[in-house]
């Protein structure tokens, strides 16, 4: 797929990746967290990034989101070479990240959370105030689109379930024009029903032409919505696979570094 893209460069725009990360390395002092990872994301696809604990998934998406600067490698966004100085830069370019725990403030209302940092205003000069009517309407509308019926826009986020919170954060990113949406382990703390909700949300977002980067350790969650799968292991990619060309078992093997899991599986009787 990556090879393919290179050959068609400049011809079919739909085949040009939205975001292309090439040969990214990231060193923290002596620790080599990423040792040359390449990854790309197209509009309207869900690209899953899998890997075991400490594989470097979070570090990799943080480089994508402007939190870390890569030690080496290039980031191209819509064909242009980018150097993100801060998360704000990446956000302005259209790369939004939803972190598992940092997404929402539980004591604040859904509307206040939704608009945090980008509150709409009306009135002039010193009498400028937040336009709650508009903010509430949009919030209710966007949440309805994502399949969540709020009791009211002033409902505190703390009363929402984990999956619903994740959905508010996703709806917010989408509403504010994200082109690439990065989800860092959105399902890891959720039960079955909540996970299903979030996966359905990912599907909705993808159908709007947004490129979704879905980080998970869970092969089944990734198989449910993913179009492509990249496995990270000890800071390296073991390759990118396309849906229908790989089985859950093969992905599981790749995640654990192949050989080791085969041995494990033997001793556990195929329960992993």
């Amino acid at each position: 797929m990556t090879q393919d893209t290179r050959f068609h460069h400049g011809h079919a725009t739909s085949r040009q990746p939205l975001l292309e990360m090439t040969d990214i390395e990231k060193h923290f002092g002596p620790v080599i967290a990423l040792a040359g990872v390449s990854f790309d994301i197209h509009p309207g696809e869900c690209h899953c990034l899998l890997g075991d604990n400490g594989a470097g998934k979070s570090t990799f998406i943080k480089t994508m989101a402007g939190v870390h600067k890569p030690t080496h490698g290039s980031i191209r966004f819509e064909g242009k070479e980018m150097k993100f100085e801060s998360p704000r830069d990446a956000m302005e370019a259209g790369i939004a990240t939803v972190y598992q725990d940092l997404a929402m403030i539980p004591l604040m209302s859904v509307t206040r959370n939704f608009w945090m940092g980008r509150e709409p205003e009306r009135g002039r000069g010193i009498f400028k105030s937040m336009d709650f009517k508009h903010a509430n309407e949009i919030t209710m509308e966007e949440m309805r689109k994502m399949g969540i019926n709020l009791r009211g826009p002033d409902q505190a986020v703390g009363t929402l379930s984990g999956g619903e919170r994740q959905t508010v954060a996703i709806a917010r990113a989408v509403y504010f024009g994200a082109k690439v949406l990065i989800l860092d382990e959105p399902t890891s703390a959720l039960g079955v029903r909540q996970t299903a909700k979030v996966l359905a949300t990912i599907d909705k977002v993808r159908s709007q032409g947004i490129g979704v980067v879905f980080i998970t350790h869970n092969v089944r969650h990734s198989m449910a919505v993913g179009d492509r799968f990249t496995v990270l292991n000890r800071g390296k990619t073991l390759g990118t696979a396309v849906r229908d060309e790989i089985t859950a078992g093969e992905l599981q093997d790749l995640m654990a570094g192949g050989q080791e899991l085969v041995e494990l599986e033997g001793s556990l009787g195929g329960t992993v």
Partner: protein
Amino acid sequence: MTDERLKKTSALRKAMIRPELGALAGVVLVFAFFLIVAGDSGMFAADGIMNWGIVSAQFAIIAVGACLLMIAGEFDLSVGSMIGFAGIIIAILSVQLGWPMWLSIIAAFVVCMSIGALNGILVIKTGLPSFIVTLAFLYILRGMTIFLAVATTRQTIIGGVRDASEGDWIAFIFGGVILKPVFQFLADIGLIDTYVRGTKIGQPVVEGLPMLMVWAIGLIVFGHWLLSRTRFGNWIFASGGDPVAARYVGVPVNRVKITMFVFSAFCATVLATSQVMEFGSAAADRGILKEFEAIICVVIGGALLTGGYGSVVGAALGALIFGVVQQGLFFSGAESSLFRVFLGTILILAVVLNTYIRRMITGER
């Protein structure tokens, strides 16, 4: 996809989940109590109302500053010392150095608000809890206040401010009395008692509305509007609720917090100036324990000590409860030391109630 389990939320419960609710109940209770116990003591005549009204207004002025700061996730323990400090600065500049009163007042505001900014910057830069940083300023400012007063006048009280503020319009903004004709009219139609003896015979026992109260009402209205209706208000909640999440979506958390420290210092200086104008003197020991009283008002008003949740109206109600109880004990002839007992008790009750409310908001987690 509505969850059938959520439908049981009653209107009552929804009303409960408001920060002001506890304080409102407290106000009703306190008024009922003193109407019964001290209803015929003059506490609810015009001059009685003015008596506890002024005390409540004093609490309210500093409570508004403490409230916004606490919601933004910080404390300012230097408020009380700053009240003494600001007063002494005004008195030294105007009485000792002969500066015009308006300039002395402006200078006090500039100095105190700069110290507020310094408090904020230190908290942000060192990452230390504001509790520690402002505790240091509680001592530094009190020490400086006494030192400056004694070094310039050999006393801890500096008088003569009233003469120095004669005819000064900024002094009037803090120490004046407005609406005198209205109060005279109310007296003429018999709604307010008049003096029956002495040089003021025929004049109402309450001369007019003191500017101190105008400040209190103005600050409450402004604070409430800022917090609940503006973008900046949303940033205050966000900065206290979760600074990391707020920063991530572009809220200028540091600026918000520093601004709130400056605002808290502003409120302290307003109170200090009003008191200096009212008493005609500055005293180095003024404002002792005020920082805690402000925080208690805010907590009674439903704010969480951990930040991110609270209400200016609640804090104002907390201040009203304070004023009424402190003066009410006096009117009902009770031992005034009981006020402290009351304070401690109500503080515990308020915090317990708040914890319960927070559990309800966050869905019993």
